[in-house]
Chain length 225, copies 2
Amino acid sequence: MIHTLSEENYLKCIYRLYLDKVRKITPTAIADMLGNNPASVVDMIRKLSDKTLITYDKKKGVELTVIGLKDAALIVRRHRLWEVFLLEKLGYDWDEIHDIAEELEHIKDSTLADRLDKFLGFPEYDPHGDPIPQANGKMAKPYSLTLAELKPSTICRVAAVRDTNSDFLQYLLKLDIGIGTPIKLVEIITFDNSLVISINGKENTTVSQKFGQNILVDDSFSEDA
Amino acid sequence: MIHTLSEENYLKCIYRLYLDKVRKITPTAIADMLGNNPASVVDMIRKLSDKTLITYDKKKGVELTVIGLKDAALIVRRHRLWEVFLLEKLGYDWDEIHDIAEELEHIKDSTLADRLDKFLGFPEYDPHGDPIPQANGKMAKPYSLTLAELKPSTICRVAAVRDTNSDFLQYLLKLDIGIGTPIKLVEIITFDNSLVISINGKENTTVSQKFGQNILVDDSFSEDA
DNA sequence: AAATAAAATTAGCCAAGACTAATTTTATTT
DNA sequence: AAATAAAATTAGTCTTGGCTAATTTTATTT
């Protein structure tokens, strides 16, 4: 079954809310994420239900069916593979790839994703640190621990970034933070929860709580050594 | 100025008719090529005229403006570059790439085509032997001499194929004909203009006139030696 | 429990881009 | 030149996927 551009975008949005473990996926939650009117969302919920990609129940909200889950994972698979391609092969910067991949992910061809996967050497993570779903729709567990949740004095490395917004990524570039960069959380300012951090052993820098909540970290870092 | 999917497809169609040196590009000619209703074409001609991509005059038919010509060439540029990518990098067959490139060509990003061009090593021709327009919209002159126009006993090599239809390309694969394959036109059957040819020095084969009209050749072949 | 606020839904509208059917214009024959 | 055929155009319809405004349902306060 083939899906329209809009259907795919809704599916991807619902999938993202599902991965974020939102307990009840409501029309308003979808509308907020897509910047659409709730009335439009209600229409599309009906379409996707008719195609048995989701179920909708007032009490339970929107849930992906087995088919919907698989199809959504494959869209995300394509998106993330194209991001790897754009960065590694075409030399785009970190902050430029998301929007282009947003278009490329909708290209319809049954073998394209798998060929691209092979061509790229079967990458496991995309340039933002997000795991790439496999051809069967299965995906490694995304990183979930944020820098803002750590205890002071913890050393970690950046595993992924939550926000793919260009401003945020450019800020990271300026701070010289990328995937894998070691960070030490020095102190949490109790007044506003700002974070004092040391990036890659350099002098301390202060960042906001919001910033910390968008950096996903791996704190098993020091234990490996 | 950004164009919709439909606008781009019409523009490409008009560009193709222009390259084919059709003296007067009429709504019906466009409708026939796209498989659309002439009424729909008339609507779109108005839209493209409003965007100053074309001019339309009952007497002269549709003509591309300078902007329209450039934009059309850039769409074709993207199409042909993606075809090279799909064949060379992802291992697709000759007959599979056209339809996928048909989607990829519409990806909007100002530097994508140029980056892809560089990544592919600035190819001059696509896998079907068609010249790839450059970033400025200029393009090498397409091959125009067909196998069906040659005199008997002429030796040539296949320079390009006119039809990108999958059946035709698969037939070529079966005959072991690709870009660069040497062909000798042995005889023209006067009854129905069938062509007796020798492919790459092998035993004679007979093909139809229609077939010959879809093979573009380079007959300066023997002169080089 | 009643009042209020928020969320969901329905109804109706709009634009793009396709269509059909009917009409007008242009070309071609006889 | 008149008759006919073909092409172009207009008018009106349909679908997709948005929208607003109004209404109903559900949650939250008081």
